[in-house]
Protein backbone atom coordinates (compact mmCIF):
# COMPACT_ATOMS: atom_id res chain seq x y z
CA UNK A 1 0.00 0.00 0.00
CA UNK A 2 1.27 3.40 -0.94
CA UNK A 3 1.94 5.81 1.87
CA UNK A 4 4.45 8.36 0.61
CA UNK A 5 3.47 9.10 -2.97
CA UNK A 6 -0.21 9.96 -3.28
CA UNK A 7 -2.22 9.59 -6.46
CA UNK A 8 -1.73 13.20 -7.55
CA UNK A 9 2.04 12.98 -7.17
CA UNK A 10 2.12 9.66 -9.00
CA UNK A 11 0.21 11.02 -11.94
CA UNK A 12 2.44 14.08 -12.00
CA UNK A 13 5.45 11.78 -12.27
CA UNK A 14 3.77 9.55 -14.85
CA UNK A 15 3.01 12.56 -17.03
CA UNK A 16 6.78 12.92 -17.53
CA UNK A 17 7.19 9.45 -19.04
CA UNK A 18 6.54 10.42 -22.69
CA UNK A 19 9.36 12.96 -22.56
CA UNK A 20 12.12 10.37 -22.26
CA UNK A 21 12.89 7.08 -23.98
CA UNK A 22 13.87 5.46 -20.66
CA UNK A 23 12.25 5.42 -17.23
CA UNK A 24 15.57 6.03 -15.54
CA UNK A 25 15.74 9.48 -17.14
CA UNK A 26 12.65 10.38 -15.13
CA UNK A 27 14.54 9.88 -11.85
CA UNK A 28 15.84 13.44 -11.44
CA UNK A 29 12.63 15.27 -12.36
CA UNK A 30 10.69 12.81 -10.20
CA UNK A 31 13.01 13.37 -7.24
CA UNK A 32 12.38 17.10 -7.59
CA UNK A 33 8.64 16.52 -7.50
CA UNK A 34 8.92 14.29 -4.45
CA UNK A 35 11.21 16.73 -2.64
CA UNK A 36 8.92 19.62 -3.48
CA UNK A 37 5.90 17.78 -2.09
CA UNK A 38 7.36 16.08 0.98
CA UNK A 39 10.15 18.51 1.85
CA UNK A 40 12.64 15.65 1.74
CA UNK A 41 13.15 12.29 0.02
CA UNK A 42 12.93 9.63 2.74
CA UNK A 43 13.97 6.11 1.86
CA UNK A 44 10.36 4.89 1.98
CA UNK A 45 9.50 7.33 -0.80
CA UNK A 46 12.50 6.16 -2.80
CA UNK A 47 11.32 2.57 -2.63
CA UNK A 48 7.90 3.58 -3.92
CA UNK A 49 9.36 5.80 -6.60
CA UNK A 50 11.59 2.99 -7.81
CA UNK A 51 8.60 0.72 -8.11
CA UNK A 52 6.70 3.33 -10.09
CA UNK A 53 9.65 3.69 -12.48
CA UNK A 54 10.32 -0.04 -12.74
CA UNK A 55 13.81 0.36 -11.28
CA UNK A 56 15.59 -1.17 -8.34
CA UNK A 57 15.52 1.08 -5.26
CA UNK A 58 19.31 1.01 -5.26
CA UNK A 59 19.38 2.58 -8.73
CA UNK A 60 17.33 5.54 -7.58
CA UNK A 61 19.26 5.79 -4.33
CA UNK A 62 22.57 5.72 -6.21
CA UNK A 63 21.53 8.71 -8.30
CA UNK A 64 20.01 10.57 -5.37
CA UNK A 65 23.12 10.21 -3.24
CA UNK A 66 25.22 11.99 -5.86
CA UNK A 67 23.24 15.22 -5.59
CA UNK A 68 23.61 16.94 -2.23
CA UNK A 69 20.35 18.71 -2.97
CA UNK A 70 18.13 15.79 -1.94
CA UNK A 71 17.98 15.15 1.79
CA UNK A 72 17.14 12.00 3.68
CA UNK A 73 18.04 12.80 7.27
CA UNK A 74 15.03 14.98 8.03
CA UNK A 75 12.44 17.17 6.30
CA UNK A 76 14.04 20.40 5.19
CA UNK A 77 12.80 23.78 6.32
CA UNK A 78 9.96 25.38 4.41
CA UNK A 79 12.53 27.97 3.41
CA UNK A 80 15.77 26.53 2.18
CA UNK A 81 18.32 29.32 2.17
CA UNK A 82 21.62 29.04 0.35
CA UNK A 83 24.20 31.78 0.85
CA UNK A 84 26.84 32.08 -1.85
CA UNK A 85 30.43 31.83 -0.69
CA UNK A 86 32.10 31.82 -4.09
CA UNK A 87 34.66 34.08 -5.71
CA UNK A 88 32.58 37.20 -6.37
CA UNK A 89 30.38 37.08 -3.28
CA UNK A 90 33.11 36.28 -0.73
CA UNK A 91 35.10 39.49 -1.40
CA UNK A 92 31.83 41.47 -1.50
CA UNK A 93 30.57 40.52 1.96
CA UNK A 94 29.12 37.05 1.37
CA UNK A 95 30.94 35.39 4.25
CA UNK A 96 29.86 38.09 6.70
CA UNK A 97 26.32 37.70 5.42
CA UNK A 98 26.37 33.98 6.13
CA UNK A 99 27.88 34.52 9.55
CA UNK A 100 25.21 37.08 10.36
CA UNK A 101 22.44 34.74 9.23
CA UNK A 102 23.89 31.96 11.38
CA UNK A 103 23.65 34.26 14.40
CA UNK A 104 20.16 35.49 13.62
CA UNK A 105 18.81 31.99 13.11
CA UNK A 106 20.89 30.33 15.80
CA UNK A 107 21.97 27.53 13.47
CA UNK A 108 24.99 26.62 11.37
CA UNK A 109 25.12 25.74 7.69
CA UNK A 110 23.45 22.39 7.11
CA UNK A 111 21.05 22.83 10.03
CA UNK A 112 17.33 23.55 10.29
CA UNK A 113 15.66 25.80 12.84
CA UNK A 114 13.83 23.94 15.62
CA UNK A 115 10.45 25.14 14.36
CA UNK A 116 11.20 23.60 10.94
CA UNK A 117 10.95 26.93 9.18
CA UNK A 118 14.41 27.56 7.78
CA UNK A 119 17.27 25.37 6.58
CA UNK A 120 20.53 27.21 6.06
CA UNK A 121 23.25 26.13 3.62
CA UNK A 122 26.20 27.63 1.88
CA UNK A 123 26.25 27.56 -1.87
CA UNK A 124 28.85 27.65 -4.55
CA UNK A 125 28.41 30.36 -7.19
CA UNK A 126 24.69 30.94 -7.67
CA UNK A 127 25.14 32.64 -11.02
CA UNK A 128 24.14 36.00 -9.63
CA UNK A 129 27.65 37.42 -9.25
CA UNK A 130 26.58 40.77 -10.70
CA UNK A 131 24.45 41.14 -7.54
CA UNK A 132 27.01 40.01 -4.97
CA UNK A 133 26.48 39.12 -2.23
CA UNK A 134 23.67 36.85 -3.30
CA UNK A 135 21.53 34.20 -1.70
CA UNK A 136 18.86 31.80 -2.87
CA UNK A 137 15.59 31.11 -1.05
CA UNK A 138 14.01 27.93 -2.40
CA UNK A 139 14.51 28.77 -6.07
CA UNK A 140 14.38 32.54 -5.96
CA UNK A 141 17.58 34.59 -6.15
CA UNK A 142 18.05 37.65 -3.96
CA UNK A 143 20.97 39.90 -4.78
CA UNK A 144 22.85 42.90 -3.41
CA UNK A 145 22.05 41.71 0.09
CA UNK A 146 22.54 44.03 3.02
CA UNK A 147 21.64 43.44 6.65
CA UNK A 148 18.58 45.64 6.23
CA UNK A 149 17.39 43.75 3.18
CA UNK A 150 18.01 40.50 4.99
CA UNK A 151 15.86 41.58 7.93
CA UNK A 152 13.00 42.42 5.60
CA UNK A 153 13.40 39.13 3.77
CA UNK A 154 13.46 37.17 7.03
CA UNK A 155 10.10 38.64 7.97
CA UNK A 156 8.59 36.80 5.01
CA UNK A 157 9.86 33.43 6.26
CA UNK A 158 6.79 32.37 8.19
Amino acid sequence: MSTQLDAALRSQIESLFPRYPTRQAVVLPALHLVHERLGWTPIEAIVELAELLGLAPSQVQDTLSFYGFFKQDRPQGRYRVWVCRSIACAPCGGEELLEHLCKRLGIRPGETTADGRVTLEFAECLGACDQAPALLVNDTLHGNMTREKLERLMETWR
Partner: protein, 448 residues
Amino acid sequence: MSYERVLLANVEKPNSHTLAVYEAGGGYRALRRALKELSPADLVAMVKASGLRGRGGAGFPTGQKWLFLPKDFSGPIYLCVNADESEPGTFVNRVQMELDPHQVLEGVLLSCYATRAGTAYIYLRYEYGLCWRRMQAALDECRAAGYLGQNILGSRFSVNVHLHRGAAAYVCGEETGLIESLEGKRAWPRIKPPFPAVEGLFRKPTVVNNVETLCCVKHIVDRGVEWFRSMGTPPDPALPHDHGSFGPKLFGLSGHVARPGCYEAPLGITVRELIDRLGGGVRDGRKAKAAVLGGLSTGVISESEFDTPLNFTAPGRVGCLGLGTGCVTVFDETYSMVDFLHNSCRFFAHESCGQCTPCREGARWALEILDRIRAGRGRPSDLDLLQEIGDNLGIAPGTTICGLADGAAWPIKTTLRKFREEFQRAVSGRWPVAGETDPSSIFSTPGH
Protein backbone atom coordinates in the same frame (compact mmCIF):
# COMPACT_ATOMS: atom_id res chain seq x y z
CA MET B 1 32.95 53.37 -30.34
CA SER B 2 29.34 52.64 -31.11
CA TYR B 3 28.30 49.05 -31.08
CA GLU B 4 24.85 47.69 -31.87
CA ARG B 5 23.91 45.06 -29.33
CA VAL B 6 22.31 41.96 -30.78
CA LEU B 7 22.46 39.34 -28.01
CA LEU B 8 21.14 41.91 -25.55
CA ALA B 9 19.00 43.84 -28.05
CA ASN B 10 15.77 43.06 -26.24
CA VAL B 11 16.67 42.95 -22.59
CA GLU B 12 15.70 46.49 -21.69
CA LYS B 13 12.27 46.35 -23.34
CA PRO B 14 9.31 45.98 -20.98
CA ASN B 15 8.09 42.36 -20.99
CA SER B 16 11.10 41.33 -23.06
CA HIS B 17 10.43 37.72 -22.10
CA THR B 18 7.10 37.51 -23.93
CA LEU B 19 6.46 36.25 -27.44
CA ALA B 20 4.70 39.46 -28.53
CA VAL B 21 7.70 41.63 -27.69
CA TYR B 22 10.12 39.15 -29.22
CA GLU B 23 8.16 38.97 -32.48
CA ALA B 24 7.78 42.75 -32.64
CA GLY B 25 11.58 42.95 -32.64
CA GLY B 26 11.89 40.56 -35.59
CA GLY B 27 11.76 37.35 -33.54
CA TYR B 28 11.29 34.01 -35.31
CA ARG B 29 12.02 35.71 -38.65
CA ALA B 30 15.19 33.65 -38.95
CA LEU B 31 13.30 30.41 -38.27
CA ARG B 32 10.66 31.25 -40.89
CA ARG B 33 13.29 32.07 -43.44
CA ALA B 34 15.39 28.97 -42.71
CA LEU B 35 12.43 26.61 -43.00
CA LYS B 36 11.48 28.15 -46.37
CA GLU B 37 14.81 28.81 -47.98
CA LEU B 38 17.55 26.75 -46.37
CA SER B 39 18.26 23.05 -46.10
CA PRO B 40 19.77 21.66 -42.91
CA ALA B 41 23.06 21.24 -44.78
CA ASP B 42 22.96 24.91 -45.84
CA LEU B 43 22.56 25.89 -42.22
CA VAL B 44 25.46 23.76 -41.06
CA ALA B 45 27.59 25.24 -43.84
CA MET B 46 26.68 28.78 -42.74
CA VAL B 47 27.55 28.10 -39.13
CA LYS B 48 30.84 26.52 -40.19
CA ALA B 49 31.68 29.46 -42.47
CA SER B 50 30.86 31.96 -39.73
CA GLY B 51 33.68 30.63 -37.59
CA LEU B 52 31.35 30.44 -34.56
CA ARG B 53 33.10 28.83 -31.59
CA GLY B 54 31.36 27.47 -28.52
CA ARG B 55 30.64 30.03 -25.81
CA GLY B 56 30.43 27.46 -22.99
CA GLY B 57 34.12 27.41 -22.16
CA ALA B 58 36.03 25.17 -24.54
CA GLY B 59 35.66 27.30 -27.69
CA PHE B 60 35.21 24.36 -30.03
CA PRO B 61 34.09 25.33 -33.57
CA THR B 62 30.34 24.72 -33.65
CA GLY B 63 30.00 23.86 -37.35
CA GLN B 64 32.76 21.30 -37.05
CA LYS B 65 31.10 19.73 -34.03
CA TRP B 66 27.84 19.37 -35.97
CA LEU B 67 29.68 17.77 -38.88
CA PHE B 68 30.89 15.01 -36.56
CA LEU B 69 27.33 13.65 -36.47
CA PRO B 70 26.98 10.51 -38.57
CA LYS B 71 25.59 11.20 -42.05
CA ASP B 72 22.13 9.87 -42.89
CA PHE B 73 21.62 8.42 -39.44
CA SER B 74 18.13 6.94 -39.34
CA GLY B 75 17.64 6.80 -35.57
CA PRO B 76 17.02 9.67 -33.16
CA ILE B 77 19.51 12.52 -32.77
CA TYR B 78 19.46 14.68 -29.66
CA LEU B 79 20.38 18.25 -28.88
CA CYS B 80 21.35 18.98 -25.29
CA VAL B 81 21.28 22.64 -24.42
CA ASN B 82 23.84 23.30 -21.75
CA ALA B 83 22.13 25.73 -19.40
CA ASP B 84 23.88 24.43 -16.30
CA GLU B 85 26.02 27.58 -16.04
CA SER B 86 27.82 26.90 -12.77
CA GLU B 87 31.32 28.15 -13.49
CA PRO B 88 32.12 30.51 -10.59
CA GLY B 89 31.86 34.12 -11.73
CA THR B 90 29.56 33.29 -14.64
CA PHE B 91 25.97 34.45 -15.07
CA VAL B 92 25.35 35.54 -18.68
CA ASN B 93 23.16 32.60 -19.71
CA ARG B 94 20.92 33.47 -16.78
CA VAL B 95 20.42 36.99 -18.12
CA GLN B 96 19.56 35.58 -21.54
CA MET B 97 17.04 33.04 -20.26
CA GLU B 98 15.41 35.41 -17.78
CA LEU B 99 15.07 38.35 -20.13
CA ASP B 100 14.99 36.87 -23.62
CA PRO B 101 13.95 33.22 -23.47
CA HIS B 102 12.54 33.26 -27.00
CA GLN B 103 15.92 34.20 -28.43
CA VAL B 104 17.29 31.06 -26.80
CA LEU B 105 14.42 28.96 -28.15
CA GLU B 106 14.78 30.28 -31.68
CA GLY B 107 18.45 29.31 -31.54
CA VAL B 108 17.51 25.87 -30.23
CA LEU B 109 14.94 25.32 -32.99
CA LEU B 110 17.31 26.41 -35.75
CA SER B 111 20.04 24.18 -34.37
CA CYS B 112 17.66 21.20 -34.20
CA TYR B 113 16.74 21.84 -37.82
CA ALA B 114 20.41 21.99 -38.83
CA THR B 115 21.47 18.88 -36.94
CA ARG B 116 18.20 16.96 -37.64
CA ALA B 117 17.68 16.53 -33.91
CA GLY B 118 14.08 15.54 -33.17
CA THR B 119 14.28 16.21 -29.45
CA ALA B 120 16.10 18.87 -27.47
CA TYR B 121 16.60 18.83 -23.71
CA ILE B 122 17.46 22.06 -21.99
CA TYR B 123 19.50 21.10 -18.93
CA LEU B 124 18.95 24.03 -16.58
CA ARG B 125 20.70 24.42 -13.26
CA TYR B 126 18.30 24.21 -10.33
CA GLU B 127 19.14 27.61 -8.90
CA TYR B 128 17.76 29.46 -11.92
CA GLY B 129 14.12 29.45 -10.80
CA LEU B 130 13.07 32.53 -12.75
CA CYS B 131 14.72 31.09 -15.88
CA TRP B 132 12.78 27.89 -15.31
CA ARG B 133 9.47 29.72 -15.16
CA ARG B 134 10.25 32.04 -18.06
CA MET B 135 11.55 29.24 -20.30
CA GLN B 136 8.50 27.13 -19.45
CA ALA B 137 6.16 29.99 -20.34
CA ALA B 138 8.10 30.67 -23.54
CA LEU B 139 7.81 27.02 -24.54
CA ASP B 140 4.05 27.15 -24.01
CA GLU B 141 3.74 30.33 -26.09
CA CYS B 142 5.92 28.79 -28.77
CA ARG B 143 3.83 25.66 -28.98
CA ALA B 144 0.59 27.64 -29.18
CA ALA B 145 2.02 29.79 -31.99
CA GLY B 146 3.08 26.77 -34.05
CA TYR B 147 6.85 27.27 -33.68
CA LEU B 148 7.18 24.04 -31.76
CA GLY B 149 5.75 20.55 -32.16
CA GLN B 150 4.67 18.74 -35.29
CA ASN B 151 5.10 20.29 -38.77
CA ILE B 152 6.41 23.60 -37.58
CA LEU B 153 5.01 26.53 -39.60
CA GLY B 154 3.53 24.08 -42.07
CA SER B 155 6.91 22.54 -42.92
CA ARG B 156 8.01 18.94 -42.52
CA PHE B 157 10.16 19.89 -39.56
CA SER B 158 8.99 18.59 -36.17
CA VAL B 159 10.72 18.91 -32.85
CA ASN B 160 10.09 18.48 -29.13
CA VAL B 161 11.85 20.64 -26.57
CA HIS B 162 11.86 19.71 -22.88
CA LEU B 163 13.20 21.51 -19.84
CA HIS B 164 15.18 19.33 -17.47
CA ARG B 165 16.20 20.59 -14.06
CA GLY B 166 19.60 19.95 -12.48
CA ALA B 167 20.28 19.50 -8.78
CA ALA B 168 23.19 21.74 -7.83
CA ALA B 169 26.26 19.87 -9.04
CA TYR B 170 28.91 21.74 -11.07
CA VAL B 171 30.13 18.67 -12.94
CA CYS B 172 26.72 18.38 -14.66
CA GLY B 173 27.94 21.20 -16.91
CA GLU B 174 30.64 18.95 -18.36
CA GLU B 175 29.01 17.61 -21.49
CA THR B 176 29.17 13.91 -20.69
CA GLY B 177 28.39 14.54 -17.02
CA LEU B 178 25.33 16.36 -18.30
CA ILE B 179 24.40 13.39 -20.46
CA GLU B 180 24.76 10.92 -17.59
CA SER B 181 22.72 13.19 -15.35
CA LEU B 182 19.99 13.50 -17.99
CA GLU B 183 19.88 9.73 -18.19
CA GLY B 184 19.04 9.72 -14.49
CA LYS B 185 22.43 8.61 -13.17
CA ARG B 186 25.17 10.15 -11.10
CA ALA B 187 26.86 12.83 -13.20
CA TRP B 188 30.08 10.93 -13.74
CA PRO B 189 31.77 12.23 -16.89
CA ARG B 190 32.46 9.57 -19.51
CA ILE B 191 35.79 8.59 -20.93
CA LYS B 192 36.08 9.95 -24.48
CA PRO B 193 36.06 8.70 -27.20
CA PRO B 194 33.36 7.93 -28.10
CA PHE B 195 32.41 11.60 -28.34
CA PRO B 196 28.76 12.56 -27.88
CA ALA B 197 28.32 13.28 -31.61
CA VAL B 198 28.81 9.57 -32.21
CA GLU B 199 27.44 8.09 -29.01
CA GLY B 200 25.85 10.50 -26.58
CA LEU B 201 22.49 10.73 -24.83
CA PHE B 202 20.75 7.35 -24.64
CA ARG B 203 23.72 6.09 -26.72
CA LYS B 204 22.53 8.11 -29.72
CA PRO B 205 24.31 10.84 -31.69
CA THR B 206 24.10 14.00 -29.61
CA VAL B 207 25.11 17.62 -29.88
CA VAL B 208 25.80 19.55 -26.69
CA ASN B 209 25.87 23.33 -27.02
CA ASN B 210 25.83 26.27 -24.70
CA VAL B 211 22.86 28.68 -24.54
CA GLU B 212 24.84 31.64 -25.90
CA THR B 213 26.29 29.56 -28.76
CA LEU B 214 22.77 28.70 -29.90
CA CYS B 215 21.72 32.35 -29.70
CA CYS B 216 24.63 33.19 -32.01
CA VAL B 217 23.26 30.65 -34.51
CA LYS B 218 20.04 32.63 -34.65
CA HIS B 219 21.87 35.86 -35.43
CA ILE B 220 24.06 34.22 -38.06
CA VAL B 221 20.93 33.10 -39.92
CA ASP B 222 19.32 36.50 -39.42
CA ARG B 223 22.24 38.74 -40.32
CA GLY B 224 24.56 36.55 -42.32
CA VAL B 225 28.01 35.07 -42.14
CA GLU B 226 29.76 38.27 -43.28
CA TRP B 227 28.19 40.26 -40.48
CA PHE B 228 29.35 37.71 -37.92
CA ARG B 229 32.90 37.68 -39.28
CA SER B 230 33.06 41.46 -39.36
CA MET B 231 33.61 41.42 -35.59
CA GLY B 232 36.36 39.92 -33.51
CA THR B 233 39.93 38.80 -34.05
CA PRO B 234 41.08 36.96 -37.21
CA PRO B 235 43.23 33.82 -36.86
CA ASP B 236 46.79 34.42 -35.70
CA PRO B 237 49.09 33.29 -38.56
CA ALA B 238 51.66 32.22 -35.95
CA LEU B 239 49.19 29.66 -34.56
CA PRO B 240 48.34 27.01 -37.15
CA HIS B 241 45.33 25.72 -35.23
CA ASP B 242 43.76 29.08 -34.46
CA HIS B 243 40.29 29.36 -35.97
CA GLY B 244 40.00 33.02 -35.07
CA SER B 245 37.57 34.62 -32.63
CA PHE B 246 34.57 36.01 -34.46
CA GLY B 247 31.28 37.53 -33.46
CA PRO B 248 29.66 39.20 -30.50
CA LYS B 249 30.14 37.90 -26.98
CA LEU B 250 28.54 38.42 -23.61
CA PHE B 251 30.94 39.37 -20.84
CA GLY B 252 29.98 39.10 -17.21
CA LEU B 253 31.66 41.53 -14.86
CA SER B 254 31.65 41.08 -11.09
CA GLY B 255 33.70 41.60 -7.95
CA HIS B 256 35.12 44.96 -6.91
CA VAL B 257 33.82 47.04 -9.82
CA ALA B 258 31.58 50.10 -9.83
CA ARG B 259 28.98 48.67 -12.23
CA PRO B 260 28.91 44.88 -12.26
CA GLY B 261 26.70 43.39 -14.95
CA CYS B 262 26.34 41.54 -18.21
CA TYR B 263 27.84 43.42 -21.15
CA GLU B 264 27.95 42.71 -24.85
CA ALA B 265 30.94 43.54 -27.01
CA PRO B 266 32.81 42.04 -29.96
CA LEU B 267 35.32 39.34 -29.05
CA GLY B 268 38.69 40.96 -28.49
CA ILE B 269 37.71 43.75 -26.09
CA THR B 270 40.40 43.98 -23.43
CA VAL B 271 39.88 43.24 -19.76
CA ARG B 272 40.76 46.86 -19.00
CA GLU B 273 38.20 48.23 -21.46
CA LEU B 274 35.57 45.97 -19.97
CA ILE B 275 36.33 47.08 -16.43
CA ASP B 276 36.95 50.78 -17.04
CA ARG B 277 34.75 51.68 -19.99
CA LEU B 278 31.77 49.40 -19.43
CA GLY B 279 32.04 48.66 -15.73
CA GLY B 280 32.90 52.13 -14.50
CA GLY B 281 36.28 51.11 -13.04
CA VAL B 282 37.19 49.66 -9.69
CA ARG B 283 34.79 50.24 -6.82
CA ASP B 284 35.33 52.93 -4.15
CA GLY B 285 38.25 54.54 -5.99
CA ARG B 286 40.54 51.64 -5.13
CA LYS B 287 43.15 50.03 -7.34
CA ALA B 288 42.72 46.62 -8.92
CA LYS B 289 45.10 43.84 -7.97
CA ALA B 290 43.95 40.90 -10.06
CA ALA B 291 41.08 39.42 -12.00
CA VAL B 292 39.72 36.03 -12.86
CA LEU B 293 39.69 36.19 -16.60
CA GLY B 294 36.94 33.91 -17.87
CA GLY B 295 35.34 32.00 -15.02
CA LEU B 296 37.33 30.53 -12.15
CA SER B 297 38.73 27.58 -14.15
CA THR B 298 40.76 29.82 -16.46
CA GLY B 299 43.00 31.22 -13.71
CA VAL B 300 43.92 34.78 -12.78
CA ILE B 301 45.73 37.72 -14.31
CA SER B 302 47.45 40.53 -12.47
CA GLU B 303 46.55 44.18 -13.01
CA SER B 304 49.57 44.57 -15.29
CA GLU B 305 47.98 42.04 -17.65
CA PHE B 306 44.63 43.82 -17.96
CA ASP B 307 45.34 44.83 -21.57
CA THR B 308 44.80 41.20 -22.58
CA PRO B 309 42.11 40.91 -25.26
CA LEU B 310 39.19 38.67 -24.40
CA ASN B 311 39.33 36.30 -27.35
CA PHE B 312 40.16 32.63 -27.76
CA THR B 313 43.96 33.01 -28.10
CA ALA B 314 45.17 35.95 -26.02
CA PRO B 315 44.45 34.49 -22.55
CA GLY B 316 46.91 31.70 -23.30
CA ARG B 317 49.66 34.27 -23.73
CA VAL B 318 49.27 35.42 -20.14
CA GLY B 319 49.42 31.90 -18.83
CA CYS B 320 45.68 31.25 -18.52
CA LEU B 321 43.67 28.26 -19.69
CA GLY B 322 41.70 30.24 -22.26
CA LEU B 323 38.73 32.54 -22.71
CA GLY B 324 36.49 30.24 -20.70
CA THR B 325 33.08 31.81 -20.23
CA GLY B 326 34.29 35.38 -20.75
CA CYS B 327 33.21 36.36 -17.26
CA VAL B 328 35.63 38.58 -15.37
CA THR B 329 35.76 38.87 -11.56
CA VAL B 330 37.87 41.75 -10.25
CA PHE B 331 39.74 41.90 -6.93
CA ASP B 332 41.02 45.15 -5.50
CA GLU B 333 44.25 45.74 -3.62
CA THR B 334 42.71 44.92 -0.23
CA TYR B 335 41.78 41.36 -1.13
CA SER B 336 44.09 38.49 -0.26
CA MET B 337 45.06 36.13 -3.06
CA VAL B 338 45.59 33.44 -0.42
CA ASP B 339 41.91 33.78 0.45
CA PHE B 340 41.06 33.67 -3.24
CA LEU B 341 43.01 30.48 -3.86
CA HIS B 342 41.57 28.90 -0.74
CA ASN B 343 38.09 29.66 -2.03
CA SER B 344 38.97 28.18 -5.41
CA CYS B 345 40.39 24.95 -3.97
CA ARG B 346 37.42 24.58 -1.64
CA PHE B 347 35.11 24.79 -4.65
CA PHE B 348 36.90 22.16 -6.71
CA ALA B 349 37.36 19.84 -3.73
CA HIS B 350 33.62 20.12 -3.13
CA GLU B 351 32.65 19.56 -6.77
CA SER B 352 35.06 16.81 -7.83
CA CYS B 353 32.95 13.80 -8.74
CA GLY B 354 35.58 11.50 -7.30
CA GLN B 355 36.20 9.17 -10.23
CA CYS B 356 39.83 10.20 -10.83
CA THR B 357 42.34 10.00 -7.99
CA PRO B 358 44.41 13.06 -8.99
CA CYS B 359 41.29 15.24 -9.03
CA ARG B 360 39.60 13.82 -5.96
CA GLU B 361 42.74 13.75 -3.81
CA GLY B 362 44.63 16.63 -5.40
CA ALA B 363 41.90 19.21 -4.96
CA ARG B 364 41.37 18.21 -1.34
CA TRP B 365 45.09 18.10 -0.61
CA ALA B 366 45.54 21.60 -2.03
CA LEU B 367 42.67 22.76 0.17
CA GLU B 368 44.26 21.23 3.27
CA ILE B 369 47.54 22.99 2.54
CA LEU B 370 45.75 26.31 2.14
CA ASP B 371 43.78 25.71 5.33
CA ARG B 372 47.11 25.22 7.08
CA ILE B 373 48.62 28.33 5.53
CA ARG B 374 45.63 30.40 6.58
CA ALA B 375 45.91 29.00 10.10
CA GLY B 376 49.43 30.44 10.28
CA ARG B 377 51.06 27.02 10.11
CA GLY B 378 52.27 27.21 6.51
CA ARG B 379 55.73 25.97 5.57
CA PRO B 380 57.90 27.46 2.82
CA SER B 381 57.94 24.05 1.09
CA ASP B 382 54.12 24.21 0.83
CA LEU B 383 54.38 26.53 -2.14
CA ASP B 384 56.36 24.08 -4.26
CA LEU B 385 54.05 21.30 -3.15
CA LEU B 386 51.01 23.29 -4.25
CA GLN B 387 52.67 24.08 -7.54
CA GLU B 388 53.39 20.40 -8.06
CA ILE B 389 49.78 19.46 -7.39
CA GLY B 390 48.64 22.12 -9.85
CA ASP B 391 51.01 20.89 -12.54
CA ASN B 392 49.84 17.31 -12.33
CA LEU B 393 46.08 17.68 -12.38
CA GLY B 394 43.93 17.48 -15.45
CA ILE B 395 43.35 16.40 -19.01
CA ALA B 396 46.31 18.47 -20.15
CA PRO B 397 48.85 16.46 -18.11
CA GLY B 398 46.67 13.47 -18.96
CA THR B 399 45.71 12.27 -15.50
CA THR B 400 41.93 12.75 -15.45
CA ILE B 401 38.72 12.02 -17.34
CA CYS B 402 37.31 15.51 -17.52
CA GLY B 403 38.32 19.13 -17.45
CA LEU B 404 37.11 19.85 -13.93
CA ALA B 405 40.58 18.97 -12.71
CA ASP B 406 42.17 21.37 -15.19
CA GLY B 407 39.87 23.99 -13.77
CA ALA B 408 41.20 23.24 -10.31
CA ALA B 409 44.78 23.42 -11.56
CA TRP B 410 44.82 26.74 -13.41
CA PRO B 411 43.91 28.97 -10.45
CA ILE B 412 46.64 27.23 -8.42
CA LYS B 413 49.27 27.61 -11.13
CA THR B 414 48.47 31.19 -12.09
CA THR B 415 47.92 32.55 -8.58
CA LEU B 416 51.10 31.03 -7.20
CA ARG B 417 53.23 32.24 -10.08
CA LYS B 418 51.80 35.74 -10.28
CA PHE B 419 51.40 36.43 -6.56
CA ARG B 420 54.14 34.30 -5.09
CA GLU B 421 55.37 37.04 -2.80
CA GLU B 422 52.01 37.20 -1.07
CA PHE B 423 52.13 33.47 -0.43
CA GLN B 424 55.71 33.69 0.76
CA ARG B 425 54.69 36.26 3.33
CA ALA B 426 51.83 34.02 4.39
CA VAL B 427 54.05 30.99 4.98
CA SER B 428 56.70 32.99 6.79
CA GLY B 429 54.34 33.62 9.66
CA ARG B 430 52.94 36.97 8.68
CA TRP B 431 49.41 35.85 8.04
CA PRO B 432 46.90 37.42 7.61
CA VAL B 433 48.24 39.26 4.64
CA ALA B 434 45.14 41.31 3.97
CA GLY B 435 41.87 41.36 5.82
CA GLU B 436 41.17 39.54 9.04
CA THR B 437 40.19 35.92 8.78
CA ASP B 438 39.36 33.46 11.47
CA PRO B 439 40.91 30.25 10.19
CA SER B 440 38.75 28.05 12.39
CA SER B 441 35.58 29.54 10.95
CA ILE B 442 32.87 27.70 9.08
CA PHE B 443 34.39 28.80 5.79
CA SER B 444 37.10 26.18 5.87
CA THR B 445 34.82 23.22 5.53
CA PRO B 446 34.40 21.74 2.08
CA GLY B 447 30.79 20.78 2.83
CA HIS B 448 28.96 17.64 1.93
